[in-house]
Subunit: 425 residues, 2 copies
């Protein structure tokens, strides 16, 4: 049995995603295909344009058999954390055989070489990295130059470390090494626009371009499959979105002003003086955009700044993030499945290392059952109970914050997570 796993955000799922999925299926010829998808907040440090259930439905209508949620703690981390979570979900199904990811270079040998290097962390490389960081470069840039020097790569080759999909690809492979996973990995060359190219490019527009069109209330009918267009339009018509980062402004700026210096210390990621910058500029700025622009500096990427906003808003503490980055995802949260996916789900249920969550209100019962099994050494369970609870509570909180920013006041109730998964087809 071949089970293909892919890692997505589908924010929203567009023609380019569809093409990628088809190519991946052609390459693997799987019996089943599952996706691990970001929930209501994404890796660029932004809320998703519509909620995770609507986005899962898009996937289920286009050839994905099961959609698992990537726990929020991973969805809003940098490439390393994101990949560790996403590969973790796929690996811990103990069922996925192959993953396919998009890559600008599609040079799997080079990506693998870099991943292996990062996995092994030879001493010389660490020193080179430190040297570059001291120059005031951002971490991705410092790493790029350190790799260039260590591998004595050509300029051409090193450019592969600048593309967001290649960077993610390296981290996926690295995570596979970390989990000692037997999953086989494959790349396919990306077509169409760059990951975050805001320019409109017709049928194969980037998700960033599509979100911008939505914000400007322009026509997007060319860019999405028809069914997804309907799903999106239905969400918007019902006042559930679109949600944009700017909508969070009036929550986030007073929140930062309210924070004392010691409150910053607790949150994951406020290194290198970023706490001071947030403390200072949240007091000077009246809009989120001016806040982000003021904080921006050579060594901090925009995504990192935005992600810190989410980290703060969601109260993500250092110790929790570090434990999550040590032990990986603690559950398989099912957002939806097709009838075909249901068959696979029952196979996964028997094989997985971590509990499957289909009904969030049963989370305590599920945990108790796993605890009982663990005490009796009954199954190969691999969870840290305290972390299971915290990861799941964060997903619930993420939804509760997210839904508050719906356009319609009537839709702002929380508790989205207590819905049953979607069953399609």
């Amino acid at each position: 049995m071949k089970v293909l796993g892919i890692i997505v955000e589908y924010n929203p799922m567009h023609n380019g995603h569809l093409y990628h999925l088809q190519k991946a299926k052609e390459l693997i010829d799987p019996d089943y295909t599952i996706a691990v998808m970001s929930g209501n907040f994404c890796q660029r440090g932004e809320p998703a344009i519509i909620n995770k259930f609507a986005r899962a439905r898009m996937a289920l209508k286009h050839g994905i058999d099961i959609v698992f949620e990537l726990p929020t703690i991973y969805a809003i981390q940098d490439a390393g954390g994101f990949a560790y979570g996403a590969i973790g979900v796929l690996h811990k199904t103990n069922t996925v055989t192959d993953i396919v990811f998009g890559s600008e270079s599609a040079d799997i040998n080079f990506l693998e070489k870099v991943a292996l290097l990062l996995h092994n962390q030879p001493e010389g490389f660490g020193q080179l990295l430190k040297k570059e960081l001291k120059k005031g470069l951002s971490y991705p840039n410092a790493r790029k130059y350190a790799l260039k020097n260590f591998l004595t790569s050509s300029s051409d080759e090193i450019k592969k470390l600048e593309k967001s999909n290649d960077i993610l690809g390296i981290e996926y492979i690295r995570a596979i090494f970390k989990y000692k996973s037997k999953i086989k990995y494959h790349v396919i060359k990306r077509i169409g626009s760059n990951y975050n190219d805001p320019a409109f490019k017709g049928k194969f527009s980037s998700a960033t371009a599509i979100r911008r069109l939505i914000k400007e209330k322009k026509d997007i009918s060319q860019t999405l499959p028809e069914k997804n267009l309907k799903i999106l339009e239905n969400e918007i018509a019902n006042g559930r979105g679109p949600v944009f980062l700017e909508d969070l402004t009036c929550f986030v700026i007073p929140l930062f002003r309210k924070m004392r210096r010691e409150d910053f210390e607790k949150i994951y990621g406020f290194n290198e003086g970023l706490d001071l910058r947030f403390f200072k500029y949240s007091r000077e700025c009246g809009t989120l955009q001016s806040l982000i622009e003021s904080i921006k500096a050579k060594r901090f990427t925009y995504s990192r700044i935005r992600r810190l906003i989410l980290m703060t808003m969601l109260n993500i503490e250092k110790e929790f993030a570090e434990l999550s980055n040590k032990y990986g995802p603690q559950y398989l949260r099912v957002l939806g499945f097709t009838k075909k996916g249901q068959v696979l789900l029952s196979k996964i249920k028997k094989r997985t290392f971590i509990p499957i969550i289909t009904t969030v209100s049963l989370k305590e019962k599920v945990l108790q059952k796993v605890r009982n099994d663990m005490e009796k050494n009954k199954r190969n369970w691999d969870i840290v109970p305290e972390l299971y609870t915290r990861q799941l509570e964060l997903d619930i909180l993420s939804s509760d914050i997210y839904t508050y920013f719906y356009k319609s006041e009537d839709q702002r109730k929380s508790g989205m997570d207590f819905r049953k998964p979607i069953i399609e087809g």
Copy 2:
């Protein structure tokens, strides 16, 4: 030398306030008049309609010689805490000789009798109070019936405990007892509308009615003295307000959703299951109004619920509030003075028990000077240094949060408190 002290919110200062001030002056014939005024948040649990400096200017243009800010920790407490702070400021000037306050009943003997009873807290009264609270009444109501039974008052007399000014008056007198202050107190009968009568009543409209008119963009020219109308219009024209409670919605609701159960425990005032109610209903409600209506119950007044919103938003911890209610205000914050007031201010400077703050950026220096004096037993200083810092920092935070909710994005910079005081006339 006679120095009259009055306690105000001036939100905004209207014809009724002016009348009250004139009557008070006729009664006392003071050499100087000072006011202690709420800052940017008021005792009803709402933001002030315009900022404290603009409101202080209104007072200085109409016969007040110095405006001191009532530290935020007192301004947003119930009548007891509010009065303890306000009387504390006046008492600790060590210069005020008389205070005058408005009263619906103007029955000073009865108010005094109740205040003395509350000050002495005889055993029998405490038992009666507990009994009434057990019936599920709000604290003000339970106290009213306990007093009725204890004093075997007539129904007529006991009605005096239902009027907001009489309730405050009792607390003012009680605070004077607590401080063992020599300040003489006087009442004058209130004219015009009730404190929070929303109905428009012409020239003597209540502040509540005026704020409502402003919200509805209706004519208020009849209700305010001309100079105050100009000040108000100028603030609004420059995008600094009007600020309404509803404006805080998008900060407050996600903030409550973000809070864990243990976070509520730290904040002052979440007793009697109110934490649970906020936890629950912030998840169900999309607007502040529906949140407040959902939380409302027989035993909780609207003001109490609104004040809890401010307490949370401003991170007011139990221990801090309790210390403040034990030691009183720790500084005299000058918002503005007239030329005449400047003469009085230099007298106060020599006599006060707590430091005068005219320039907030010098707060550390002022504290250091007081500390030095205290070490050398040089003066009759009466402060707790740690509390001085916390009270002042809360005032600064209040302004930083308040200014974020200005209509104009350009005006949302924080740091209002670092302005020099206003000098008028």
